[in-house]
């Protein structure tokens, strides 16, 4: 019976969370300061970035220290689209996503030839090349100073021209985008391709013996992850109205890995959980303690060493343990239920 309760508890908590996310711009001003709406928006965007790191690391077994590259490409795509080419909202958005995806598609050819730590190194090398270019060519990218830009309205219906300057609209815009791409990711992971990712992660030789080409599977995963990171970068540039070379620096990728590892690699929602937790820690703690990252590092080390499945793994085990502990209760319940249904 306890197991049943825990399961219900999870559903209730999930429902509450969904309700909170749907009403956040109206609920938060009552509970907290309004600026937490922006923090929540930021958490949503970064959790999409964490999901892209997780797709590579948690599902395909490729540890990338270079995801920031695609994040930065997305951000620069938007910046160039809006300020240099004078595009309107959606073309600039598409330009950002396309820039990231094309970069991933080109780099992927070389990068996924390697696995294990060699892949990690090559991902660092690639992101460093682009970072150094972005920092060095001040005439094109404005380097560390970054590019600021104006954002046009998202769409026009009659006289209604909502822009992201409206915090509530911005929140819902980001929520819808992030939810859509999370749904897309979930659908891919449920598809045969998603199982192929896991097969390659577990044992690439066996995966190739049952007919998968590990190289192609890794390539798909790499491009899809680059695409997701690009969407996150595009959204973040629109959110902050600003793009800088720092978005491409390896520390951004490193943060993504820490979020994924703490939240739970290889679970769909773990990265979002880790991102939310660590951004809240950052917002709360960085005011009082300049070197709060030390704490983050220690949390990450403890998690990786003692609970490699992360917070989500812990939660899932807690949920499942109760089920396993009371199999008799579960079966008797279902038996009686089925009998009730029959009669």
């Amino acid at each position: 019976m306890i197991g049943f309760k825990r399961h219900t508890l999870f559903i209730i908590l999930g429902g509450l969370l969904a309700a909170f996310l749907l009403t956040a711009p109206y609920v938060i001003p009552f509970l907290l300061n309004t600026f937490w709406v922006n923090i929540l928006t930021e958490i949503l965007i970064w959790s999409l970035f964490a999901a892209s790191v997780n797709l590579l690391f948690g599902y395909t077994g490729l540890l990338s220290f270079g995801q920031a590259l695609f994040f930065g490409m997305g951000a620069y795509g938007v910046a160039f689209g809006l300020s240099t080419f004078g595009l309107s909202f959606w073309p600039a958005f598409l330009l950002g996503v396309a820039a990231a995806t094309v970069t991933a598609a080109l780099i992927g050819f070389l990068a996924v030839r390697l696995t294990l730590a060699y892949f990690t190194i090559i991902s660092v090398v690639f992101s460093l090349i682009f970072y150094l270019f972005a920092v060095g060519r001040k005439d094109i990218t404005n380097g560390d100073d970054g590019m600021a830009f104006q954002i046009p309205p998202v769409f026009t219906i009659g006289g209604w021209e909502p822009t992201l300057l409206d915090l509530t609209f911005q929140y819902y815009f980001v929520l819808i985008m992030v939810a859509t791409f999370y749904l897309l990711l979930w659908m891919v992971l449920q598809s045969p391709l998603g199982y192929a990712f896991k097969a390659v992660r577990e044992n690439d030789r066996r995966a190739s013996l049952i007919g998968f080409n590990p190289y192609i599977i890794r390539y798909y995963s790499f491009v899809l992850a680059g695409f997701l990171a690009g969407v996150a970068g595009t959204l973040f540039a629109l959110f902050s109205r600003y793009t800088t070379a720092q978005y491409m620096y390896w520390t951004v990728s490193g943060e993504g890995i820490v979020w994924v590892v703490i939240g739970g690699a290889g679970t769909l929602l773990g990265p979002a959980l880790g991102t939310a937790l660590l951004i809240v820690i950052r917002e709360q703690l960085s005011v009082y303690w300049e070197h709060f990252l030390i704490l983050v590092g220690i949390i990450a080390i403890v998690t990786v060493t003692f609970e490699p499945a992360g917070l989500m793994g812990m939660l899932n085990r807690w949920k499942d343990r109760s089920r396993a502990a009371t199999p008799a209760a579960e079966t008797s319940l279902t038996d009686s239920e089925s009998e009730a249904a029959r009669s």
């Binding site: 690391f57 077994g61 540890l63 070389l110 030839r113 390697l114 294990l116 730590a117 060699y118 990690t120 190194i121 090559i122 660092v124 090398v125 690639f126 460093l128 090349i129 150094l132 270019f133 490193g254 890995i257 820490v258 590892v261 300049e290 070197h291 990252l293 030390i294 590092g297 220690i298 990450a300 080390i301 990786v304 060493t305 003692f306 490699p308």
Partner: protein
């Protein structure tokens, strides 16, 4: 007696002898700055070799080697600065500093496997770097991020004291210490402990089943390699006469990984070859070609893809072919 009829052992002793003579004779054919450059290659080579002890023998992709190199640098620097040690004492304090730091890090890190080990070591080196450069540790890092030796180092040999003022001394002392460390590590590699390490690297479960204490072995090689990295840090501090907090940064570990892989990470000779290739390329190519990192990336891809044993692995195959004909 022909060359081919010699036993394998004799032939490798011959190679060692020729190599030793070549290195002893080398400074007479080089300009002053080139002697220092060769000494630098030897020292960074020792550092890279410490990585291949952890990775090629222990099976752990460590990004914390730079921390121990930095600990060696500062162990040397602070030993002379605060305690007035002579060179021998300061080298000892450098190794002690590296090992002292490696024990707690190793206890935690060696519990993690593969990617998780990599992440843990990166985080540890970022943490150490962040704490040291936070400004609260000025007694250690110096008023700025670098700390210079305030004197010309001297090496006392009882009856005679050699000064680092002459780069011939710098060259030969670096060579002697690196050669001694290389010899020690080679003995370790062929010892039963070295064989057991390779066994646990190839298959941890089987090694465990034949009674090897895998966790203890992983920890031991981690600490030993940290000591070697600390020794190379001390030699670097001696040669360059300055230390920088930058050496704690994990990008230096990343460089060691690249050097070791290019040369051949499964051997102890390979890292030296990889270091020489990398540093020579950096010295000569970065002048003409701005994006030098791209080139290194391409070389890395080619080596990992087509010659996973590295340049030394290829050379060994070539030698075997030639001698069997």
């Amino acid at each position: 007696m022909t060359f081919c009829s010699m036993s394998m052992l004799n032939r490798s002793w011959l190679a060692v002898g020729i190599l030793a003579m070549a290195f002893i004779a080398l400074p007479f054919f080089l300009a002053e700055f080139q002697r220092i450059f060769v000494a630098e290659i030897l020292i960074w080579g020792l550092f890279t070799m410490s990585f291949s002890l952890v990775y090629g023998y222990g099976g752990m992709m460590s990004f914390a080697q730079a921390v121990f190199f930095g600990a060696g640098c500062y162990g040397f620097n602070l030993g002379t600065h605060y305690y007035g040690f002579n060179t021998w004492g300061a080298i000892a304090s450098a190794v002690v500093a590296a090992v002292t730091l490696a024990i707690p890090i190793g206890v935690v890190a060696t519990r993690a496997r593969s990617h998780h080990f990599l992440i843990v070591t990166v985080i540890f080196s970022v943490l150490v770097h962040m704490i040291l450069s936070s400004g609260h540790w000025r007694w250690l890092g110096g008023p700025y991020v670098t700390r210079s030796l305030t004197f010309v180092p001297e090496v006392p040999f009882g009856f005679v004291t050699l000064s680092y003022e002459s780069e011939i001394v710098a060259y030969y002392f670096s060579l002697a210490v690196v050669a001694a460390a290389f010899g020690g590590c080679s003995l370790l590699a062929v010892s039963p402990f070295g064989r057991a390490l390779i066994a646990q690297k190839d298959n941890e479960m089987r090694a465990h089943l034949i009674g090897l204490r895998v966790v203890w072995m992983r920890f031991s090689i981690f600490v030993i390699a940290a000591g070697v990295a600390g020794l190379s840090g001390a030699l670097y501090a001696l040669l360059a006469r300055y230390t920088s907090l930058e050496f704690f940064h994990w990008t230096y570990s990343g460089q060691a990984v690249v050097m070791a892989v290019i040369g051949g990470a499964n051997s102890l000779v390979g890292p030296f070859i990889g270091t020489a290739i990398y540093l020579l390329a950096a010295e000569h190519l970065s002048r003409h070609f701005e994006s030098f990192a791209i080139l290194i990336g391409i070389i890395l891809i080619l080596v990992v893809r087509y010659a996973p044993m590295g340049v030394w692995g290829l050379a060994r195959i070539a030698i075997r072919k030639v001698s069997s004909e």
